[in-house]
Each structure stands twice: as structure tokens, then as C-alpha cells.
């Protein structure tokens, strides 16, 4: 049943058999009064520690060339795409330049979570997704900050927030309802079995809703999709399938969903970084462009935050790669943001300006940016965000992220 042709025939048959369209997440008319509003937030977790210095190259900093002789060569500014008179963009992200020009792309060049010094992916990602700080041991964190955000929003149900992909997304786990779904999940069920199974699920109150959703989402709910998008979603998900993840997020967000998160991995570039980072960059670019296309006019109400667990060392290592560091870049995209700018300043690359003499100095807690984005997107009092979503965070001045 991986064959799209078969699949589409099957969908049509299911429709003819009267599978409940009313329960479909795509075509249910949504009453938004009292709901979480019209703004949309996508958080992309970049797993593996993205090298901000390679993605967003501070070619105006005179120390750069000496730190990355093998990676950038003699002319560090050479291949990059100029964003302003100080930073260039990695050439593999050329597809994002139009967004920059349109004011739909921005960067925070030097930020990080409060996690310091141990530089473990495992712990760093826990910190990033739990949104905890200080002495809070990451292993203790059992819910994520996006889930805590949900507890502040009115009219939230399981479709309001989606964790997309097979990978565990701590960022959305917690007490508030949410749905995790891996696009491309398909069921090898005959229409008759589908009907019988729907009947069996209905008979058990605990299984009824989840069972109906499972059947809906694998079944007759995609009739309104363009064919190419449908084909994209049929493809099995893999780390490389950023398109499929983003297309699915866009599809949900055209409906009831307001918050979604997924992860893109492959950023742990210890060796031969100039080659090794390319697939990850391609995925990131594809995800953002697919979101933009898929959301259409809704892109104007969308904010995308792409963040990583920590940055990488400023000096390249002996194998033309970089090792685990501290500060790094965050990327913002979307029609809702005030783009075409660098946010939060630049610490400098002189040894004395670095963190521990080796890493980029983070100038501001990454949670402050997330917190202000949530406040602005969902009209929440800053005090509620600080108290519930990021307990103990000093949000500071607004960075005016949104238009």
C-alpha cells in the first residue's frame, strides 16, 4: 500500500462507504471564538548542536578568519550570501534569501539555554525542550515548555498542538492535550476492516476518540489536498524528509492546529563540516520553504523559531569540524515577524569575548525570545508566561519580535 495510486483508490472507496467526514481534522469548520486565536507558532528543534558561526557568518569580525582557516579558507567572506555589512548567510541557504529580503527572516546570532559547561547533547536538548534552568537536573524535567504554554491558552484540545514525526518531542509533552503524529503513517486495512475496527473502538470509551483519530488520520481525510502534497505525505518519513514533516504541519495549521513542533537532526559536525553540514542545511531550508508554501496566506500569521541545544566551538578542530560549544544562533522566520535584522547584538570573537575562551558568549537566554514570542502571538500577560512556561525566567526588555 505504499503505492499512491492504490492509496488514492482506497481513499475514494472509503469515502463512498461513508467514513465520517465530519470528524476529519481538515474539513471541520472551526469555531474559533474562545480558541487560542489565529496566530501560529512552529518550533523546530535542531538536534545535534548547529554551528551558528557557519550558518550565519560574522565576516565583519576580524577574528573570524583565524578561527576557521580550514573551514572558510583564506577568504572567509567569499562564498557567503551578504545579509548586511557584517553577516553573510551560508551559501546552501540561498533559498531563504527572498525571505530575508521580504522581512520574513531574522536571526539571533548569540543566544543559548542556561545549560553550561557539560556540553552533552542529551542534557542540552532536555534543557532546551523542558525550558528549565539552573540547578534543575534535566532528567527531572517531565514536561516541555510548549505544553506548559498550552495550559495558558483557552479552548485547547488535542488538535491545537502537534508534535510531528516519530521522534520523541519533550517540548510538547505534559499535562495539556496534544497529538503526536508521524506523517506517512498508513494502515494496510481493507475498507471493511476499517469499518469493523471503527465499530470496535467506538465500543470502548477509553479507546473511542484516539481510535477514531487514528483511523481518520490514516484514512479518508486527504481528499482536499493537491496531488503533489499528498504524494509527499505518502512517502515514509526519515531524517531526510523535512518536506514531509513541514507539509504535514502546514496542512494541520490550515485547520485547527496553532502550535507545532518537529525536529531536524544531523548538526553534529565534528568532522569535515563543510560537507557534513550540507544535508542538515538542506533540510532546514526545505522545511521553512515548504511551510511558507503550504501555509499560503496564513504565513502572514505564522512565526517559526528554529533552535538548537547549544552552539559549537569557535575554533575548528583537527578534523575540519567543530566540537560542542555554548552560544549559538537562533533563526526566526514567518510573515508575522519583524525580519531582515539581527536581534540581540554580537559579543565578538576576540578570545577575551568568548565564553570560557573557546565558545561564543551567549548574550541572552534563548527562553526570553521564546517567551516574548508567545506573549505577543497569543496575547498572554508576560507575568503568566514567566510564571508558568519558564518559571524563574527574567524576560527582560521586549525584543519586539513580531510586526
Amino acid at each position: 500500500m505504499t503505492d499512491t495510486q492504490t492509496r488514492r483508490a482506497f481513499v475514494t472507496r472509503s469515502l463512498a462507504l461513508g467514513c465520517s467526514l465530519a470528524a476529519s481534522p481538515l474539513i471541520t469548520p472551526i469555531a474559533l471564538a474562545g480558541g487560542p486565536g489565529e496566530n501560529r507558532l512552529v518550533v523546530i528543534i535542531l538536534r545535534g548542536a548547529m554551528d551558528g558561526l557557519d550558518v550565519l557568518r560574522p565576516v565583519g569580525d576580524r577574528h573570524l578568519a583565524a578561527l576557521r582557516p580550514g573551514l572558510f579558507g583564506a577568504d572567509a567572506a567569499g562564498p557567503g550570501l551578504a545579509l548586511d555589512d557584517f553577516f553573510t548567510l551560508h551559501p546552501a541557504l540561498d533559498g531563504l534569501l527572498p525571505l530575508w529580503q521580504a522581512g520574513e527572516l531574522a536571526f539571533v546570532p548569540a543566544t543559548s539555554t542556561p545549560y553550561r559547561d557539560r556540553r552533552s547533547h542529551f542534557d542540552g536538548q532536555d534543557h532546551l525542550e523542558a525550558g528549565t534552568a539552573g540547578q534543575m537536573p534535566p532528567a527531572l524535567s517531565r514536561d516541555g515548555w510548549l505544553n506548559r504554554l498550552l495550559t495558558l491558552l483557552p479552548g485547547v484540545d488535542a488538535r491545537t498542538a502537534f508534535a510531528v514525526g516519530r521522534e520523541r518531542m519533550l517540548i510538547l509533552e505534559g499535562a495539556a492535550p496534544m497529538t503526536q503524529w508521524e506523517p506517512g503513517t498508513d494502515l494496510n486495512l481493507s475498507p471493511q476492516s476499517r469499518l469493523l475496527l471503527a465499530h470496535l473502538f467506538q465500543a470502548d470509551p477509553l479507546f473511542a476518540e484516539a481510535g477514531r483519530t487514528a483511523l481518520d488520520m490514516t484514512g479518508a481525510t486527504r481528499a482536499d489536498l493537491p496531488e503533489d502534497e499528498m504524494a509527499g505525505m505518502m512517502a515514509p518519513t526519515s531524517a531526510g524528509d523535512a518536506d514531509g514533516l513541514a507539509a504535514y504541519v502546514a496542512q494541520q495549521m490550515r485547520g485547527e492546529t496553532r502550535i507545532a513542533s518537529f525536529s531536524l537532526s544531523g548538526w553534529d559536525t565534528h568532522q569535515a563540516q563543510s560537507r557534513a553540514i550540507l544535508p542538515a542545511l538542506a533540510r532546514l531550508q526545505a522545511a521553512i520553504l515548504t511551510l511558507r508554501t503550504g501555509l499560503g496566506p496564513l504565513w502572514g500569521q505564522t512565526t517559526v523559531l528554529a533552535m538548537t541545544e547549544f552552539g559549537r566551538t569557535m575554533r575548528e578542530n583537527g578534523s575540519r569540524g567543530t566540537d560542542h560549544g555554548t552560544g549559538g544562533a537562533m533563526l526566526l522566520a514567518g510573515g508575522a515577524i519583524r525580519g531582515k535584522r539581527m536581534i540581540g547584538g554580537w559579543p565578538g570573537l576576540a578570545e577575551a569575548d568568548m565564553y570560557a575562551g573557546r565558545d561564543l558568549m551567549p548574550l541572552r537566554d534563548i527562553r526570553a525570545y521564546s517567551a516574548w514570542a508567545m506573549r505577543d502571538l497569543f496575547g498572554l500577560p508576560a507575568s503568566d508566561v514567566a510564571a508558568t512556561v519558564f518559571p524563574g525566567l527574567d524576560m527582560g526588555e521586549t525584543p519586539d519580535l513580531l510586526l
Binding site: 542534557d123 532528567a139 484516539a210 487514528a214 583537527g318
Partner: protein, 453 residues
């Protein structure tokens, strides 16, 4: 009214099926628990082997960072392949144990305690460790005392690494004073909150800190494995719940003494009894059942066999309907068992087949092998596993299994093998209404009823 045999097999065992058809009841369940079931299976990689492999991986990675070396690169790939293949072997071993155990109560208890002492490798050079920790710390102690299991599980190197105990140094120890290092309270907190007293166990932050001080000295390294290091141990007497522990010389015995005392606190008895009853019987078990279990446990001085007997002999364990949900691997094992899949079809799977048939489906259902979501383990409410993604993955796997066995049984007969007198008329009608045998069998395995226990 469901028969005692059916309840025993589904609620306390690993399911109905052609294996072990004896008429089960509480006494037979209890009698089926034998210490020898906890024997070490040679297919599970011991800690010392995992450790040696991690050590070698670290050294090879370091060497490769300095210079390219084809031989070392090949060796690194070999190490990675060994760890990956061994993890798949461990998965097959544990799945076969669940699916083919004559009764399965022992295996269910292993799963319960493994989740109670949830730990995993944190990645990096040490690729896996959960199966090892279960094999070394949980299985041998299923029929012993809780004190023994607590010592083995909470102090297992995999747990110490998982809960950062390696980063904890007594501030007034030799190392602490010289290098200004201090406590990490992670293990101390989980020891009280999760392993013994429970979240409502009435302890304070001060207790956590005192326990953290007492736990200093516990250390794990890839070179030496588990050791007790007096030079990082906090000197002096520490008071926990009104009793003094520690003092010079700093030894592991002080820690053991605390663990033994914690095991026999009434809060611990209440915590363990209610967790066990919630796991096997109901999200909200009969309070009298829990009270009986708790009192029996305390009276026996921590004897786990007495705790289990107290559960099995109480009517509250048998009155309630089958309201819990089978965890993914329990559902898979129950299906393999009911389908009479030959044992070697499970144990002889290649790594590739294991990934396709066991590992990926389990992950999609929400229970990735070798992983735990947090130190608290997987949730244990009936609703925990019931998600759209999880159910879709269950249906997918059930249909796949039904189509893969050479000859699918007749669904009308299979419903009796798999569910016996627990099958509802709705399920029987659905099973006989399927288009093909395979779809009918898959339907039964996907149905909420089969996914209950």
C-alpha cells in the same frame, strides 16, 4: 463473569494462548515465581562488556580526531555494529521471554520493577545499558527482598550515570574542598521520590540534600566500573529522618544502611503497594487491597514474595474488570503467544528483521526499546498508551503479523484462543464479519479488548 484462569493469564500473566494451558489461579501464579527464572541470559551483554566497548570507542574516537587511520575507522564501525546487533539480540531475547513464558507473571514483574527503576544509557560512547541493568539488578531480585533490589538497581552503574551521581562530590570531601566542587542531587531526589517514599512521602528539600551528601562517594568510570571513592565522600554525620548516618571512615556501608532503612519506611510500603496494584489491577485499586499489601510487606520486612501473595490472595485483585492497557511490548508478546508463532521465528530474526518487525513498531507504539521517557519511567495509567499514533501503530503491526504467519487461523476460533471468555459478542461478530482470515485475526489483535489487561 470472566473465569479466574482468564483473569490470571491476562491480568497477571502475558496472555492466553496455546502455551501453558493449565488452569491458572492466584496460588499457581505465586508458585510460578522461581528465583531461577532470574538467571542471566548469555545473550544480554554484561555491564563489564558494555563498559569495555565504550572505553575502546572513546579511545578510538579520540585517536581519529587527531589523525585519519583506516584501521581505526574500521574498528569504530565494528564496535558500532556490535553494539547495535547486540541491542537487537537483547530485544529478541526479552520479547521471547514475554511471549513464551509458561505463565508470564515473573516476566510481568520484571517489567514492573524495570519501570520502577527506570534508567537508560545517556548516549555518547556508552551506547546501551537498560537491558543490562534489568538483567543484572532487577531479574535476580524479583523473588527476594526489596532491600536487595533497591541496592542493586539504584546503585547500578547505568542508574548512577543516568542520574548524574558521577557529578556529585561532597563539598567538604578532599576533592570538594580542593576543587570547589559540590553536590548533584539528582539521584538523591529520585531515590526518595521515585524509588522509595514516593512523591507524597513527606520528605523535604533538606532531606534530599542530606541524602545527596550521604550518597557522595559513589562513582563510575569506564576504566574501573563501579567504585566507592572516599576522597569525594562527604565526611561527618548526616541526619535523615531523625537517624544519623555516615561518619569516618566513609564507606559504602553507610549508604547501604540508608537504603535498607528507606526500604522499610511505611511511606515506601504504601508507595510500592499502590503502584503495584495500579499496575496490575486498576488505575484506582481497592484501598483495602493496597492496605493489605502494604501491611504484609512491612510485616515481612520487605519480602517481595509476601507482597505479591498479599495482592494475589485479596479479592480486590480479582473483582475489577480488565481496565488496564497492555503496553506495546506486552501487546506484541500476547499476540505472538496467541498466534502460536514458533519461538525460533522470534529468536532467529536478523538485525534487519528485528528492526522491521519489533524495534520500529515498538517505537511507533510509544515504547522504544532501551529507552525510558524519564526517571519516572513510562506512565502507568490505562490512558497512557492510548494515543492515535500508538493505536495506528498497533493496528499496523497486528495486520502485518496476521498476514505474515504462513496460515492465519480462523478468526472465529482465534478469538477463543486469544480472549476466551473475555471476548465480547461485539468482538466475536466483528471477527466473523471480516473479509479474510488474516484481516479477521488482525482485527482481533487491534481491538481494544485485546489491548486491555
Amino acid at each position: 463473569m470472566i473465569s479466574t484462569h482468564t483473569l490470571a493469564a491476562i491480568r497477571f500473566g502475558t496472555g492466553l494462548g496455546p502455551v501453558g494451558r493449565t488452569a491458572l489461579d492466584g496460588a499457581i501464579l505465586w508458585d510460578s515465581l522461581r528465583p531461577e527464572s532470574g538467571g542471566y541470559d548469555p545473550s544480554i551483554i554484561p555491564w563489564d562488556t558494555r563498559r569495555a566497548r565504550a572505553l575502546e570507542r572513546r579511545d578510538v574516537q579520540r585517536a581519529l580526531r587527531d589523525a585519519e587511520d583506516p584501521a581505526l575507522s574500521a574498528r569504530l564501525q565494528e564496535l558500532n555494529r556490535m553494539d547495535r546487533d547486540d541491542t537487537f539480540t537483547e530485544l529478541r531475547t526479552n520479547m521471547a521471554r514475554l511471549a513464551f513464558a509458561p505463565v508470564g507473571f515473573f516476566e510481568r514483574l520484571v517489567r514492573f520493577w524495570a519501570n520502577h527503576f527506570a534508567a537508560q544509557s545517556r548516549g555518547g560512547v556508552l551506547r546501551a545499558g537498560r537491558a543490562t541493568q534489568i538483567e543484572e539488578a532487577i531479574r535476580p531480585n524479583i523473588t527476594g527482598s526489596f532491600q536487595q533490589m533497591l541496592r542493586a538497581a539504584a546503585l547500578h552503574p547505568v542508574m548512577l550515570l543516568y542520574l548524574d551521581q558521577n557529578a556529585s562530590v561532597g563539598p567538604f570531601s578532599r576533592v570538594g574542598r580542593r576543587r570547589g566542587r559540590g553536590l548533584n542531587e539528582n539521584l538523591a531526589r529520585e531515590l526518595l521520590e521515585l524509588h522509595t517514599l514516593g512523591a507524597s512521602g513527606g520528605y523535604t528539600q533538606e532531606d534530599v540534600t542530606q541524602v545527596a551528601r550521604l550518597l557522595t562517594g559513589l562513582a563510575v568510570s569506564l576504566e574501573d566500573g563501579f567504585t566507592f571513592e572516599p576522597r569525594i565522600a562527604e565526611p561527618g554525620l548526616l541526619e535523615v529522618f531523625g537517624k544519623r548516618y555516615g561518619g569516618r571512615p566513609m564507606t559504602l556501608d553507610h549508604i547501604i544502611e540508608l537504603l535498607d532503612d528507606l526500604a522499610l519506611r511505611p511511606e515506601t510500603a504504601q508507595h510500592l503497594a499502590s503502584k503495584l496494584a495500579q499496575h496490575f489491577v486498576s488505575d484506582s485499586p481497592d484501598p483495602q487491597l493496597v492496605a493489605h499489601m502494604s501491611a504484609s510487606y512491612l510485616h515481612s520486612g520487605g519480602d517481595l514474595m509476601v507482597l505479591y501473595r498479599a495482592m494475589l490472595e485479596h479479592p480486590g485483585a480479582w473483582d475489577a474488570p480488565l481496565s488496564k492497557t497492555r503496553a506495546p511490548s506486552e501487546m506484541m508478546a500476547a499476540a505472538i503467544r496467541a498466534m502460536e508463532v514458533p519461538r525460533d521465528m522470534v529468536t532467529d530474526l536478523t538485525s534487519r528483521q528485528t528492526r522491521f518487525f519489533l524495534a520500529h513498531p515498538m517505537e511507533a507504539m510509544g515504547e522504544p526499546f532501551e529507552q525510558v521517557p524519564s526517571p519516572a519511567g513510562y506512565g502507568d495509567s490505562a490512558a497512557f498508551w492510548v494515543t492515535p499514533q500508538g493505536l495506528a501503530a498497533r493496528i499496523d503491526w497486528a495486520m502485518e503479523l496476521a498476514q505474515r504467519v504462513p496460515e492465519a487461523p480462523d478468526p472465529r476460533e482465534f478469538v477463543d484462543i486469544a480472549m476466551a471468555d473475555a471476548a465480547s459478542d461485539t468482538l466475536r461478530r466483528a471477527a466473523s464479519g471480516a473479509e479474510t482470515r488474516a484481516q479477521g485475526v488482525g482485527l482481533i489483535l487491534s481491538a481494544p479488548e485485546f489491548n486491555r489487561r
